[in-house]
């Protein structure tokens, strides 16, 4: 196949659909003028498209199509209205109160949840407790030795006098 014929082969459908640029049209037109093979290929494509269109004609919507659509549309409009009217008048206040209630209770719940200690926090707090206890024990030990120290001081004082 010649290069020109190969190039045209890629454009046959676009050509049959009238979807080529004026520049392409010019060069393709020149080629088609003297290439019978390519001309018949383009003609075949146009013929097939026309035949396809003729062979499978358009269908019309069924008789109750509009009726069904109008019913569906009415239903759509009614539910839209219902949605709009649901938040009107006193119901709007009720909805607002319910929303505020949930926001407050939700907020409380979240803060309460945050107060609960995680495992790490529990471990740290227990260890801290232990640490504190150790200091207390040390102080107690010191306190126990206090009498001894006091007695030693008294002895030392007495000896000095």
């Amino acid at each position: 196949m010649r290069k020109e014929c190969q190039d045209l082969n890629d454009h046959i459908t676009a050509l049959a659909d009238g979807e080529i640029s004026p520049e392409e049209e010019k060069s393709i037109g020149l080629h088609l003028a003297h290439c019978q093979d390519c001309r018949s290929k383009v003609e075949d494509m146009i013929k097939i498209q026309a035949w396809m269109k003729k062979s499978w004609p358009d269908i019309k919507p069924s008789k109750d199509f509009d009726h069904r659509f109008i019913a569906a549309l009415d239903h759509e409009k009614a539910s839209r209205k219902q949605r709009a009217s649901w938040l009107s008048g006193s119901q709007r206040w009720v909805a607002a109160c319910v929303l505020i209630f949930f926001l407050i209770t939700g907020g409380i719940w979240v803060t309460q949840k945050e107060k609960k200690l995680t495992l790490d926090q529990v471990i740290i707090s227990t260890e801290f407790e232990l640490f504190r206890n150790m200091i207390v024990i040390k102080n107690l030990e010191a306190f126990e030795n206090y009498d001894l120290l006091l007695a030693m001081n008294e002895i030392a004082g007495g000896a000095g006098e």
Binding site: T13, E19, S55, W56, S62, F65, F69
Partner: protein
């Protein structure tokens, strides 16, 4: 329907609908219901499903029109919605088909198949199918991948430009050109023999 609005463009119709004229929406619906129905019908090849999908499409157009800001052609926007609704439905159908195929019970499959057959026999479409030409075209188009099928239907039957097809299918114009080229090459191969047979 308003008499003075016969020559209104799609944008005018949409603008009027946005301003509360419901008749303008019905005009838009009347203008596009048949082309959209045919686009969907030729893509899914099931008349009752096509009618359902078309109704769903226009309900979506109704819902979306109030917030729509014209960026391109209104028709392209409607075709884009159509493509989305069709894909969604086809996905669902394919999933259903997979579920049916996975079922161990052959009775269920037979039952479903026989029901499909029954509706086909009763359908007036079946009478049309008897025409060999139409059956051949349908079969050939059906064999194409969904996107190619849609591109061909929009090109041959809806006569949309490649640019508009690109917008409807959300692909570039170049991609449309390639898709249509491939699809028509396949169709030509499949249909040429039939046309020659008929011609002789």
């Amino acid at each position: 329907m308003g008499n003075n609005s016969k020559n209104d463009t799609d944008v005018d119709l949409l603008f009027r609908f946005k301003n509360g004229e419901e008749e303008a929406f019905l005009e838009l619906y009347n203008k596009y219901k048949t082309p959209i129905l045919n686009y969907i019908y030729r893509s899914c090849q099931d008349r009752s499903m096509a009618e359902d999908i078309t109704q769903e499409i226009f309900l979506k157009v109704f819902r979306g029109a109030k917030n729509y800001r014209p960026q391109g052609k209104i028709s392209s926007w409607i075709y884009t919605i159509s493509t989305h609704v069709l894909w969604k439905r086809m996905k669902k159908e394919r999933r259903l088909l997979m579920i049916v195929n996975q079922k161990d019970s052959p009775d269920l499959q037979e039952d479903l198949l026989s029901r499909i057959e029954d509706t086909r026999v009763q359908s007036p479409l079946e009478k049309l199918e008897e025409k060999q030409g139409e059956a051949a075209v349908r079969k050939a188009i059906e064999s194409l991948p969904l996107k190619q099928r849609q591109a061909v239907v929009l090109s041959v039957y809806q006569q949309l430009s490649y640019k508009d097809i690109g917008q409807a299918l959300e692909v570039s114009e170049g991609a449309v050109k390639v898709m249509i080229h491939r699809a028509k090459k396949t169709l030509k191969k499949r249909l040429s023999a039939f046309i020659t047979e008929q011609g002789s």
